[in-house]
C-alpha cells in the first residue's frame, strides 16, 4: 500500500495563489504527518487526495498490494475506486442537527457500501463504542459538543476499514485524552493502511508518525523520519536568553529559527554549524526541525528523499 504523489501543482484562479508547487511525495503505509503553517497548502493537498479537488498538473497513484496481486488506482481519474477505500475526516464539517448519531452513521454505512442490515448494526455499534458515543447515540446531533462531533466524524471516516485515511487537522477540537486516543487509533490503523495526518501541531507528529513532511507556501521543504531528523540536527541548535530589546541586534548577527518569551526575557534558538558566541547547546526536538525547515536551513529536499 503506497501512495505516490508526483509533481502535483495547483493554482487557485481567485487571487492567483499557487497553493501547491510541484509536490512530490511517496507515502508508505503507516502514519504519515504533514506539518505546515496555516495556509501552507496542507488542506488543498488533503482535499486533492480525498477526491474533492483536482490538481492542475501531476499524478497521484495509490498502489494497492494484496496477497495475490496488486493494482494501481489513479487517484485523480478513478475517483469511484479511491472512494471505495477512502476514509476522510475534513478539517471542518457540519452534521444534520435533527438526526441522531446512530441513524446518521447508519446512513453513512449504506453510503460506504455496507448494505446488509446485520453488518451495519455491528459496524455502527462498534464504531460508536470505539468513539465513546454509544451512550449518546440516540441524541440529536444538533446538541453535540465540538469534541463529540469530531469523534462522530472520526467514526464516519473509519467506516468500512479504509485503506487510505486522510485526516485534516483532526486534533484541534479534541481534549488531551481524546487526542492521544485518536492518534493511537490512527497509528494502529496505519499498520496496513496509508494514514495521512495533516496538522500544524508539532507534537501530533513527533509522537506517533513514522514519517513526516514539512510543507510551506505550497512546497515540500523537508521530508524525513522524525527521529532521524532530530538526530540530524544534533549540535546545530543553540540557545540564548536575552533581553527583549536586544532581539533586533541578535537577529542581524545570527540565523534565528525561533524565539519564545519566558518570564520577561526572550529565549532565542539559532541554527548554526559552529557554536555561536554566548549561546549554549540544546538537544534538538521536532519543533527545532520544523523551525529550521521553515527558516530555510535544509538544502534541496531532493537530496533528502529516501531512496
Amino acid at each position: 500500500m503506497t501512495l505516490k504523489i508526483t509533481n502535483i501543482s495547483k493554482t487557485y484562479s481567485t487571487g492567483a495563489v499557487q497553493a501547491l508547487k510541484n509536490v512530490t511525495l511517496t507515502i508508505p503505509h503507516g502514519l504519515y504527518g504533514l506539518l505546515g503553517p496555516n495556509g501552507a497548502g496542507k488542506s488543498t493537498l488533503m482535499r486533492i487526495l480525498a477526491t474533492l479537488q483536482e490538481p492542475d498538473e501531476g499524478t497521484i497513484s495509490l498502489e494497492v498490494s494484496s496477497p495475490d496481486s496488486g493494482h494501481v488506482i489513479d487517484v485523480v481519474n478513478q475517483k469511484d475506486e479511491v472512494r471505495q477505500t477512502l476514509g476522510y475526516l475534513p478539517q471542518e464539517f457540519g452534521l444534520y442537527p435533527k438526526v441522531s448519531a446512530e441513524s446518521l452513521l447508519d446512513h453513512f454505512a449504506i453510503l460506504k457500501g455496507i448494505t446488509t442490515r446485520r453488518s451495519r448494526q455491528v459496524v455502527v455499534e462498534a464504531l460508536l463504542r470505539q468513539t465513546n458515543l454509544w451512550d449518546v447515540r440516540k441524541q440529536k446531533l444538533g446538541g453535540y459538543s465540538g469534541g463529540m462531533r469530531q469523534r462522530f466524524g472520526v467514526a464516519v471516516a473509519l467506516l468500512g476499514n479504509p485503506k487510505l485515511m486522510i485526516v485534516d487537522e483532526p486534533t484541534a477540537g479534541l481534549d488531551p485524552a481524546e487526542r492521544v486516543r485518536f492518534l493511537n487509533l490512527l497509528s494502529e490503523l496505519g499498520e496496513n493502511s496509508v494514514v495521512l495526518l495533516s496538522t500544524h501541531i508539532v507534537e501530533d507528529v513527533s509522537e506517533l508518525c513514522t514519517r513526516m513532511a514539512i510543507i510551506n507556501k505550497g512546497e515540500i521543504i523537508h521530508e524525513a523520519e522524525p527521529l532521524k531528523a532530530i538526530e540530524g540536527l544534533k549540535g546545530k541548535i543553540w540557545r540564548k536568553i536575552i533581553e527583549k530589546s536586544l532581539l533586533p541586534q541578535v537577529e542581524l548577527e545570527h540565523k534565528i529559527i525561533s524565539t519564545k518569551l519566558l518570564g520577561g526575557s526572550t529565549v532565542v534558538h539559532v541554527y548554526s554549524g559552529e557554536e555561536p558566541v554566548g549561546f549554549e547547546s540544546v538537544p534538538p526536538d521536532l519543533e527545532d526541525v520544523y523551525f529550521s525547515a521553515m527558516a530555510g536551513h535544509y538544502p534541496q529536499r531532493a537530496g533528502l528523499q529516501p531512496k
Partner: protein
Amino acid sequence: MKFTEIFRFEFRYQWRHTSTWLLFGLFLLFGFLILRMVTLPDGTYLNAPGTIAFFTVFGSVIWVVIGGVVAGDAATRDRQTRMHPLMYTTPVSKLTYLGARFLAALAVNALILLSLFAGCLLSFYGPGAKTQFMGPFRLASYFTNYGFLALPTVVATTAIQFTVAALSGRAIASYVASILILIFSQFGGTTVHYALEWKVLGSLMDLLGTSIVVEMEGWTPIDKNTRLILLEGPWLWNRLLWFGLAAGALAFTYFRFRLGHVIPNTPWTRIFSRRSNPGRSPVLTSPDASDQGNRDTSPINLPNRFRQFGITTDVRQTLAIARTSFGMIARSRGGLTLVALLAIGTGLFAPEYMEWLGVPLLARTEEVLRTLTPALSSFKTQWIIIPFLTIFYAGELVWREREAGLNELSDTTPVREWVLLLGKFLGLSLVIITWVTFLMGAGIINQLVMKYHHFEIGVYLKALFGIQLTNYLLFALLVYAIHILVNQKYIGHMVAIGVYGYILFASMIGLEHNILIYASDPGWSYSDMLGFGPTITPWLWFKFYWVSWAFLLAVIATLFWVRSKEGGLHARFQRAKHRFAAYRPAFWMAVVLVAGSGGFIFYNTNVLNAYLNQADRLLMRAKYERRYGSYWNAPRPVLVRTRLQVELYPDEQKAEIAGTYQLVNRGKVAIDSIHLSTIPQDGIAAVSFNRPAFPMVLDDELGYRIYSLKNPLQPGDSLQMHFKMHIEPRGFSNTGVDASVVANGSHLTSDWMPVIGYQDDRRLRDVRDRSTHGLAPRTERPSLYDVAARNDTRHAEQIDLEAIVGTTRGQIGVAPGALRRTWTKGDRQYFHYATNAPIHNDYAFFSARYAVREAHWIPHSPRSGQTFPNPLPGSQPTVKPVTIQIYYHPDHDANVERMVKSAQASLAYYSREFGLYPYSHFRVLERPGPGRGMHAEPMTIDYQEGYSLMNPRPAGLDLPYHIMAHEVAHQWWGLFLSPAAVEGAGVLVESLATYSAMQVVEETLGYEHLLRYLSQMRLEYEVPRSRAAPPLLRANNQFMNYRKGPFALYVLRKYIGKDRVNDALRRMLRDYTPNPPLPTTLDFYRELQTVTPDSLHVMVHDLFAANTFWELETQRATAKQLKEGTWQVILELEARKMTVDSIGMETNVLMKDWIEIGVYAPTAKDQPSEKVLYLRKHRISTGKQTIILTVPEKPGRAGLDPNHLLIDLNPGNNTKKLKMEGVL
C-alpha cells in the same frame, strides 16, 4: 452614527451582489419590454394611469416571487456566515442593528421596483416609442402608482420576509414567506372575494392590488386614461391594515430576536425546517455525556465487514438517500402541511364554489377533477403552490449537505453520481406523490360534503396519478436539474422561477408549439361519456418526448453535479468530460429518445397535419379574403336540398360522407361558375355535377374551389352537385386530435360541409389585425344603419335535408328530421332521416350509446283572437303531436324529467303566443364536454355534459329548466326569425329567447321563481363592468344580449303590460320573411313604440335607444300617524338621469319619468315578504322633490323604484327606513 454605518454597509453590500443587479436589470427590462409588446384595446394610452397600475401590480407579483433574497440576506447573513458572535458582541443595540438592516433591505427593494418605472419611462420616451398610443405626460400617474400600489407592497412584504428570515435564521425562509404572501393575498384574497363573496375581507387581504385590477375592468376608457389610484375607500383601509401588519411583524421581530448565542430548536426555527448551520457552530448545550468517565481506553478493534460495490449496493444507496430526502421534507413544517391544509380547504369549501350561476353542481368525479387537475401552465389555481414548493424543496435537497457542512463527508463516500442524483429525486418524487394523494383526498372530501357517494377511484388514479403526477414529476426534474446546473442557490431559484414563468406564459409571447414548451401536451379531457377519449394518444407521445428530455437533463445534471470543492466552470467541464465516459451510453440513448420521439411528434404535427399557429391562421384568413373576396357578390345558386350519406366509424374516429346538393338559380342572370368554400387544409373529393363542368381553381390550402359550367345555369334552372368527404385524423396535431368523431359521443356539424360561394364569415374582424394584413378597414360587425347588410340573406336561407347516418351497432345515430327507417347491415346500424319542414343550413349528426326518454306534446289550436297567419312558411299548421326525445348518457339522468317538462311547457307557451312549432320532432342530445349551456339548431338542441351536472336545490333556482326554455325559444327567435347580421342582432335572437323563457318560467314555476331568476341575473351587473357602451339597439356583446336586453324587455313589460310587449314580438314574426331586407332592432324598436302609449315613449327610448343610467335616492323618509288612524309618509327624493357613450363620456339628461314609489309595512318575523302598502308610478323630475302620501297602516320602508326596474349602479339607497314623527 452606528445606525447610518450599519445601513450604509448593508446597502453597499447588497448593491454589489450579482443577484441585486439581476433584479434591477430584470425589472428595467420587464417595464421596457412589456410596454413595447402590449397592445391595448379601446383607445387606452400606454402611459395612462390605469395601464401603469396594471403593470405595477403585475411587476409587484413577480417581485414578491423572486425578490425575497434581499430581505432574507440582510436578516440572516451574520448567522449564515457564522459571523454573528463577532457582530452581536459589538456595542450595537438591537434596535439599531435590526432597524438599519431592515431599512437597507427596504431601500434596495424599493429601488428595484422603482427600476420597473424607469423601464416604463424608457419604453414611453426612449427611441422607437409608439407615440401614437401615448397620452400627455403626467407625473402623478407614476407617483400614485408607485406610492400607493408598489411601495406599500414593498414595505409590507419586506417586513414579513425580514421577520420570518430573522426569526428562523434562514434566508430561504423569506422566499417561503413570499410564496405564502402570494397564496394568501392573491389566491386567498381572490377566492374569498369572488368565490366565497366575502368582499370586504377579500379586498383587505389583497396586498398586491389584484382587486384594483379587477375593478378597473369596470372603468370606461376615459377612466383608465385619467383616473388615479388614490388612497380612498377600502383601498385606504387595505393599505393601513398592511402597514399595521408590517409594523406588527417588525415589533414582533424586535421582541423575539436575540443578539446572542443561537439556541437550536426554538419553535420559530422549526417552522422552516432546519436551523441555519447548527451542526457547524460549536454548540455546547448538552452535557457531553460520554465525557462522564466510563472511558474506553482499550485498543481499537474495528469489525471488518464485507463491503461490496455493485448494482445491488447502488439500489440500496439510492433508496437510502431517497428515504432521508423524503424524511427531511416531510419533517419540515411546510413540506406536507401546506398542501394538506389547502386540500382540506378545497374539499370543505366545495359547496361555496361548486355552483354555476347560483345552482349547485353534482359532484361527479368528472366535475371534481376540474378543480384538481389544472395544467402545469395554468396560474389561476391554488395548486400553483405545488410547482413553487417543488422549486423550493428541489433547492433544499440539492443544497442539503453543503448547507449542513456535511458535503465533504458525504461527497467522499463511494456512491456513484447517478445514485446521489436519483436518490434525491426519488425523495422529492415521494413528496410529490404524497401531495397528489392529498389532492385525491380533496376530491373525496369534496364529494362527501356535496353528499355524493359514488367514488370513482379508478378515474382519480388515472387523472391524478397518471396525468397530474407525470406533469409534476417532469417539472420537478427540470427544476432539480436547474438547481444542480446553476449551482448557486438563489440564482438557481430565480432561473427555476423564470423557466416556470416561461411555461406559464409561452403562448402569450407567441410560442405555441408544444414541442417547445417543457412538459406541455395538446391537452386532455376526461368525461363520463368519452373517458379520456382521443386525447390520450397524443398526450402519451408528448409525455414520452418530455420524459426523454427529462432523462437527458438528468444525465447532463449528473455530468455537471458538483461533488467537490471545484465549482468553477472550467473545472466542472473538465469533470463532466471525464465522467462522460461512464455515461456515454445513457447520454446517447437519451439523445436518441429525444430525437426519435421529437421527430415522430414533429412528423405528426407538422407533416401529417399542417402546423398553424395563431398568426398563421390569421394570415390564412387574410389570404382567403384578399384572393377570393372579390367573389362575394358573384351570382351564385341557392342550396335548397341536401342529401347526405354519413358513415360514422366511432372506434376509428373517422367518417365517410357522400353528399348531393340541389342548387337553384334564384337570380335574374345566368350563372357560369360554381364557387365552393371548403375547410382549409382538408378539402373535399370527387366533386361532380350533373352537367358538364370543369375546375378552374382548386385551392385546398385556403379552401376555395371554382368550377366553370360549360352551359351557364339559367335563372330558375337547377343543378345537382355530388361530393365526397373523408374525415379521419392523420396522427395528431399540435392541438391534439379533432373530437368530431369519437368512440362515444360523436358530434359532426355542418361546418365540415362545403358552402356555396365565398364565406364572408372568415374575414378578420379585429381592426388592428386587418390593418396589419393590409386589408380594407371594416368594423367588427356591420353598423345597424348599414342598409346593404340587411340585404344579405345567406344565413337565413333554408333547405330540406335528408340523411342516412350509419354507425356501429349499439350506438344511435341522429340527424334532423323524422326517422323514416332504421336497419342493420353487418355490424353497422343505419338510420334514415328526412325533414318535414325546411331548416337553416345548420345541422349536426350525433352518434353515441344513448339512453332515450321520449315524450309527446299535443298542440292546441292557436289562442282565440290571434289573427295573424301561421308565420312559418312551407309548413302546414300541424296538429299532429310533436315527439320530444332526450338522448342522454345513461348515468346523467338527473335533469331529464325537468328537460321534458320544460320542453313541453315551452312548446305549448310559444306555440300559443308566437305561432305553431313547425316540426314533427324536437330532440335534445348530450355530447361530451364541460359546457353548461345548450346550443340550438332547427328541431335539435345539443348540450355538453356540464349541463347534466347541474343539481338545482329542491326549492331553488331551476336554471336547467330555464336554459331549456331559452333554447326552445330559439326555434322562433334565431331559427325562424333570422335578423340581419348587423349590430343588435343578438337582441333579436338572445334577448328575445331569454325574455320568452322568462315568461315560461313565470307561468309554470311561478312569479316568485322569476324574481329569483332575475336577482341571480342582476348579480352580473355587480361584476365590475364599464359603463361605456352603445345603446341596446346596437348591442355588441354577450352581456347586452343575455342580460341587458331581457331586463329592458322585462322593465317595459312592467310599464305597459305583458300582452303589449308580446304583441310587438308577434308583429316581428308576422312581418318576417327570409327575403331581403332582413329585420333589425330598428324594426323591433318601431314595433315597441307602436304598442307603447305616447307618455312612455321616453322610457322606450331610454331603455333601447340610449345607454341610460339613473341615480335615484331617497334622502329623507318620515311618517306620522294622522288623526283618522291613517299614516302620512313624506319622502324627500333626489333623481338624476344620464347617458354614457362608448368611450365613457357622460351626458346629463333632463328627466321627467314615471317611476314607482313604494311604501311597505314593517316586516314581521313570521312573514317572509313585506306587505305592500302603496305602489304607484309618479312622475319624477331631475333634482330634489318631495312626495307626500297617505297609507292605511303603519309603514316601515319607503322610496323610489323599490323593485329596481331602472338601471341604477347604487340601488341600495332607492328606499329608506321611515323615521317616525310624533302622533298628531
